[in-house]
Amino acid sequence: MIRQAWRERSIRGLFFLAAATSIIILLLIMLFLFGEGLPLFRAYGLWDFLAGQFWAPTAEPPRFGLLPLLLGSLWVTFGALLLAVPLGLGAAIYIAELAPAGLRELLKALVEVLAAIPSVVYGFFALVIIVPWVKASFHLPIGKTALSASLVLGVMALPTIVSLAEDALTGVPRGFREAALALGATKWQTIWRVTVPAALSGISTAVILGAGRAIGETMTVLMVSGMAPIIPHSFLQPVRPLTATIAAEVGEAVWGSPHYHALFALGIVLFLLSLGINLLAEWLTSRYRGVKV
């Protein structure tokens, strides 16, 4: 009996270890990003990195300015949200409130297909279809622009936004809708004044995580953003997002060189961005979870 109790406890311990691995992995990732990224600041000023307006890692002397890359990332993400938020929320409301019951599961499955397409396939599609289209429509010398990247990132953010927002809307108690309808509200008034506000925390989470999806996406922006490290001021010019810069330059950076460390420093920025986005989403969810409206 005692042996059995001991066995039970050690099994429990093993499972706990497995569960704790996620924490360990997260810590390891931080450890290695900081370990390889911080040495940059032995030779290069932190402020020159954070506020630097030029990214020229192979120039003499090299310049490792974060701003053009960070703003490039934010710029394409902003553009993606302009497309994905109205369409995604519209589709989510359609699925949750308007779609006939028989169609609902099919629509959700189709949206999931959008999430399953590999990012390199999106990138390829954008390269052969969207880029030439943008070039021709706006009479540009090259079609690889922030707009091309935003268009495809917008589509990639759709499934996150649609499924999470749809979940939030479906989670609103039936009684809310029935009460509004009984008071004489039209179906649309019920949706707009009752259902959507009640699901607002879930809907905001959906948008935030959609933004996270877009900002962390690598392959598509690498293939179609044009990769020019300039501070963006228009959607019709090329940009060089953080993710794409890392993917494009790690291969050529000499191990242990300032350039190599600078790319890990970009990784730190990206990691902190994603961490911030996730914590914000989690805070929003937990804040409203217990609230009975």
């Binding site: 429990r12 093993l14 499972f15 929320l89 959008l114 397409i117 390199v120 039209t186």
Partner: protein
């Protein structure tokens, strides 16, 4: 009264249009890739090696490489993910440690894939000295898909009715006996769904394997420490960096179809398994 109706009609029209636009985006992508790439697919394309500096021939080594990477990923992540889910569901449904673990899982799911690539390079490739290899790539991808597996397994275990557990415990089973003999067998199909989804994800990811596993040209791997060709990386390089990127478009479309077909087929299987689970089970 009229105004209310009009507003409603306009709003519903917008919602319907938004839904249609989402479906149109999906349809356009699938249509272009399938219509333009179908001609490139042949038995020879799937089973032969590239020829004349990648400008002709097939993509067999890339298919093999992707297969090895995906299976390797599952070998590392599946046992770990299932055990983590068992702890979260069966041992400690709440508490501070569990809240922390959940937070870590959620954050891990949000870390950009290129960051996993950087980490894999610094840790597996350099520090552990595994080099650019199947092993480094699989381990990196395993970390990436771990949240997917944990979440799917958790959902599957939660779906097992509480009475099963109570019944087993009432018969005098220990907690571990109950898990092994009752909960796991009942939850297995759901766990399988997570595994299949993870397989698809691992096969389609590019950014984490660029520095850890993939090379543009290689023979078939002969050990876990060999670098490999992989479908997504092959498509990326062919479409952007190769000199003959215009001439080799048919090969690129073909590679895209194979990759897309593989990933979507895995997803379809997962969706069907799950649909059957949710509908057909009469506990």
């Amino acid at each position: 009264m009229r105004l209310r109706r009009l507003t409603q009609a306009a709003a519903f029209a917008f919602l319907t249009l938004a839904m249609a636009a989402v479906l149109l985006a999906l349809g356009t992508i699938l249509y272009y890739i399938l219509a333009r790439g179908a001609g490139a697919i042949s038995w020879e394309f799937l089973t032969s090696f590239p020829r004349r500096g990648m400008t002709a021939g097939g993509i067999f080594p890339a298919i093999v490489g992707t297969f090895y990477l995906a299976v390797g990923t599952l070998i590392f992540s599946l046992p770990l993910g299932i055990c983590a889910a068992i702890y979260l569901v069966e041992y400690a449904p709440q508490g501070r440690a569990v809240r922390l673990i959940r937070m870590a899982v959620n954050n891990l799911a949000g870390v950009p894939s290129i960051v996993f690539g950087l980490f894999g390079l610094a840790f597996f490739v350099r520090l552990l000295g595994l080099g650019v290899s199947i092993l480094s790539g699989s381990l990196t991808l395993a970390f990436l898909v771990l949240p997917t597996i944990i979440r799917a397994s958790e959902e599957a275990l939660r779906a097992v009715p509480q009475e099963f557990r109570e019944g087993a415990l009432a018969l005098g089973a220990t907690r571990w006996q109950m898990i092994r003999r009752v909960v796991l067998p009942a939850g297995l199909p759901g766990v399988l769904t997570g595994a299949i989804l993870a397989l698809g994800r691992a096969a389609g990811e590019t950014a984490p394997i660029i520095f850890t596993a993939a090379v543009f040209s290689a023979r078939l791997p002969n050990s876990p420490l060999s670098p490999v060709m992989a479908l997504p990386y092959h498509l990326f390089v062919m479409a952007t960096e190769s000199i003959f990127y215009e001439e080799t478009r048919p090969i690129q479309y073909g590679t895209a179809i194979v990759l897309l077909g593989l990933v979507l087929a895995l997803d379809l299987v997962a969706i069907l398994v799950r649909a059957r689970l949710r509908r057909g089970r009469r506990w």
